[in-house]
């Protein structure tokens, strides 16, 4: 396979010459001047001649152009698999992430389980897994995507096993363990002990990627827009965070693998870079977004006492293995009043559990920190230790002894069912633009079945990489540099100095926290028309506060500049969630309207959002699941 080094003419990433000397730059890059003029990018980079800039390396003042067959944005589980898959299909791949490769995103955070019909614990079929997925989705799943997930799942999970991910096995080693998670009709969920599923999956994918020379991996790349030309996606533009240098990445096909939007909420269970940027990138490039109102809250996120070094979703595996009791302030197992959970058993689905805890808190029966108590005090210490050995020690370091005390838990933003609208080949309606993983909407409808997220990441990553590689091959070798809405912003900001007094840098970090508080309070799991209308008004005010241009450039690792670009995406995506939520006049799955309780047959429909004529356009269409059934 050809490595990316095979094209020195376009591989300007290692170039380190100041822009001032454009002619010598072209000579060093061996780029035909016609091609440079065609892009118009290099000439867009201003040469700052102030003393601090002149004294420093010029690397941030050159537009760095890279060329590949397939560009993958986001290096979590879905992105890493997409890169592997595209390389297998013969593509030269560029895998970029705004953080470190394989470290950011949601997969590495996952401590829980992976749903897949392996039939190791008891007989099982993809059809049974599909039925549970569709039931959890409350009528809104795209059946083709759901079917793909359950049918390709076993091959991906067995492949991970062959790659030595370390799925937990029965004590005699005879079979892979499968836990019985809520919403499933039988034990179906594999995991890696202890609470190590996500890190093991990430490490395994990294190990597979490392020797693949056709995949060039670059971290610290912030993508600000998809580039388009004549309605097709032609790559992306952005900047390298460490230097502030503008980058233009030309690609035959581009895959968005940026995960979900949980960072929009004050309390969330994913990493700080899950700000919905992929949704904003897709929307501005002309793709459609689907089901944006459905944000899944994980009901028993850790709330108190303060726990560090562990993810707040850690209590789920405890409940799979040990049951545990969910109690209100008065010590009542209140969930029995909201669902079917029998004492000490864990079979409450996420939307019902979230509702139950919110209602208890609202009725004044919450725990001191504003959630519910989760108690394992009835479980013998030996049993705790056998199931969670080293985790019990980590809890002890945090001053928590489960044999003596209950912890406090509360719903926490966890996953987004909605996302970029794609077909079963993961292609958006924009030729050359693909999506995979949590960034995709449709497979999970109005509520995701537990354990489907990593399966989705691997399965959809494989499909997206394969189809994107085929699309790039069909495009041929000539890459066209497209235009992107943020091009002048990223190039205009590519200087090294920090000018004084021009524009505001100071309010952006606090604007971010205000946005997160607003979304938690008014666009959380329980919504009303009035709360959503107030949120939309406040979002418009925040948009005005953000303004049209980023703060003045400040060279390398400029966190205020990063905040600005993040807020540009987050405010757009927050609007999508709130607009879809105010339009859906019923309650379904993860979207609960306190002013409109109950599911309505006329709302067995998906809402689709597009960006047209400088505005969001929302339309409604009958759910694919219903159309297929009809």
């Amino acid at each position: 396979m050809r490595g990316l080094e095979g094209r020195p003419a376009r591989d300007a990433g290692r170039c380190n010459v100041p822009f001032d000397d454009a002619a010598s730059l072209r000579a060093k890059l061996d780029v035909p001047s016609a091609s440079v003029q065609e892009t118009g990018l290099l000439s867009a980079v201003p040469a700052c001649r102030c003393p601090p800039c002149a004294a420093k390396s010029g690397k941030s003042r050159v537009m760095n152009e890279l060329d590949c067959d397939v560009l993958v944005i986001g290096a979590g589980g879905a992105g890493m698999y997409a890169a592997l898959s595209a390389a297998r299909a013969g593509a030269r791949v560029l895998l970029v992430d705004r953080g470190l490769i394989g470290r950011a995103g949601a997969t590495v955070m996952a401590q829980m389980t992976v749903a897949v019909a392996l039939g190791e614990e008891c007989p099982d079929t993809p059809e049974a897994h599909l039925n549970d997925t569709l039931a959890a989705g409350r009528g809104l799943c795209d059946p083709a995507l759901a079917r793909l997930l359950v049918e390709d799942g076993p091959a991906r999970i067995r492949e991970m096993d062959a790659w030595k991910v370390g799925w937990a096995r029965a004590e005699d080693g005879s079979h892979i363990r499968q836990a019985h998670a809520p919403g499933h009709d039988r034990p179906r969920c594999v995991y890696v002990d202890f609470l190590n599923t996500g890190p093991a999956v990430s490490r395994t994918l990294r190990t597979q990627l490392n020797p693949v020379s056709a995949v060039r991996r670059i971290g610290d790349i912030v993508i600000t827009d998809i580039a388009t030309h004549a309605g097709r996606a032609t790559g992306a533009v952005g900047f390298e965070l460490g230097s502030g240098a503008a980058v233009s990445l030309r690609a035959g096909a581009t895959i968005i693998a940026t995960g979900g939007l949980t960072r929009l909420y004050a309390r969330n269970s994913a990493s700080a870079n899950m700000g919905g940027d992929g949704y904003a990138l897709a929307l501005r490039a002309g793709a459609e977004l689907l089901d944006m109102e459905f944000v899944q809250f994980f009901p028993i996120g850790h709330l108190a006492p303060r726990l560090i070094g562990m993810d707040p979703i850690m209590w789920d595996p405890f409940r799979y293995k040990l049951g545990g009791r969910l109690l209100n302030r008065d010590g009542d197992e209140f969930s029995e009043r909201y669902g079917r959970e029998a004492s000490g058993r864990y079979n409450l689905t996420r939307d019902v559990a979230t509702y139950a805890i919110f209602k208890e808190v609202e009725a004044g029966r919450g725990s001191p920190a504003g959630g519910a108590f989760l108690s394992f005090t009835h479980v013998p210490e030996a049993e705790l230790r056998r199931n969670f050995g080293p985790v019990i020690d980590r809890l002890a370091k945090n001053g928590i002894d489960l044999t003596r005390q209950a912890v406090e838990v509360a719903p926490i933003a966890h996953y987004h069912m909605g996302g970029v609208a794609v077909g079963p080949d993961m292609a958006t309606r924009v030729p050359g633009l693909y999506a995979c993983g949590e960034a995709v909407g449709g497979a999970n409808g109005a509520n995701r079945l537990s354990g489907n997220a990593i399966t989705e990441a691997l399965v959809f990553g494989e499909v997206a990489g394969r189809h994107a590689a085929a699309h790039a091959r069909a495009q041929g070798a000539l890459r066209v540099a497209g235009d992107a809405p943020s091009l002048s912003l990223v190039t205009g900001a590519a200087t090294l100095c920090r000018p004084e007094g021009a524009g505001s840098r100071s309010g952006l970090a606090s604007l971010m926290t205000r946005l997160q508080a607003l979304m938690a309070e008014k666009v959380g799991p329980f919504r009303t028309h009035d709360k959503l209308a107030a949120a939309l008004a406040e979002l418009a005010a925040m948009q005005a506060e953000l303004g049209e241009a980023p703060p003045p450039a400040a060279g390398g690792y400029d966190m205020a500049r990063l905040d600005w670009y993040d807020l540009r995406n987050m405010l757009l995506v927050a609007r999508c969630v709130a607009e879809a939520a105010i339009a859906r006049k019923e309650s379904r799955g993860a979207h609960q309207r306190e002013d409109l309780p109950g599911m309505l047959p006329e709302w067995e429909a998906n809402q689709v959002i597009e960006w047209r004529d400088d505005g969001l356009r929302l339309k409604r269409r009958a759910a694919l699941q219903q159309r297929e059934a009809a």
Partner: protein, 112 residues
């Protein structure tokens, strides 16, 4: 719980600058982490303070590695204490800005 004050002495600067130390007094509840304090500083005192983090709390991303009171550790698992604490970038990695160092493997950087 009682709010206490951590006095964070943070080493600031870019490569080539003379390193300078800046002191921030950060209110905290016992149990909170150094990363909590760095994030508080960005919102309330100085949005330009640069540090890497991704997973916030889980110690999964390993991005927030720095020197805390002279020892290499993770800001997300180091607990705040009342009184002075020294926070500095990793000494054996190239400085990018403030507490950010070049920790990615060379083959995973744009400029390598």
């Amino acid at each position: 719980m009682t709010t206490q004050i951590a006095e964070l002495h943070i080493r600031r600067g870019e490569p080539g600058d003379a390193p300078r130390e800046q002191v921030f007094n950060v209110p905290f509840e016992p149990g909170q982490s150094v990363l909590d304090a760095l994030r508080w500083i960005r919102v309330h005192a100085d949005p330009d303070l640069a540090f890497r983090f991704s997973c916030i709390n889980a110690n999964a991303c390993k991005e927030c590695m720095m020197q805390i009171d002279g020892k290499v550790g993770y800001a997300c698992t180091a607990r705040l204490v009342a009184g002075p604490m020294q926070v500095a970038p990793l000494a054996n990695k190239a400085l990018v800005r403030d507490l950010v160092t070049e920790i990615a493997p060379p083959e995973e950087r744009l400029f390598r």
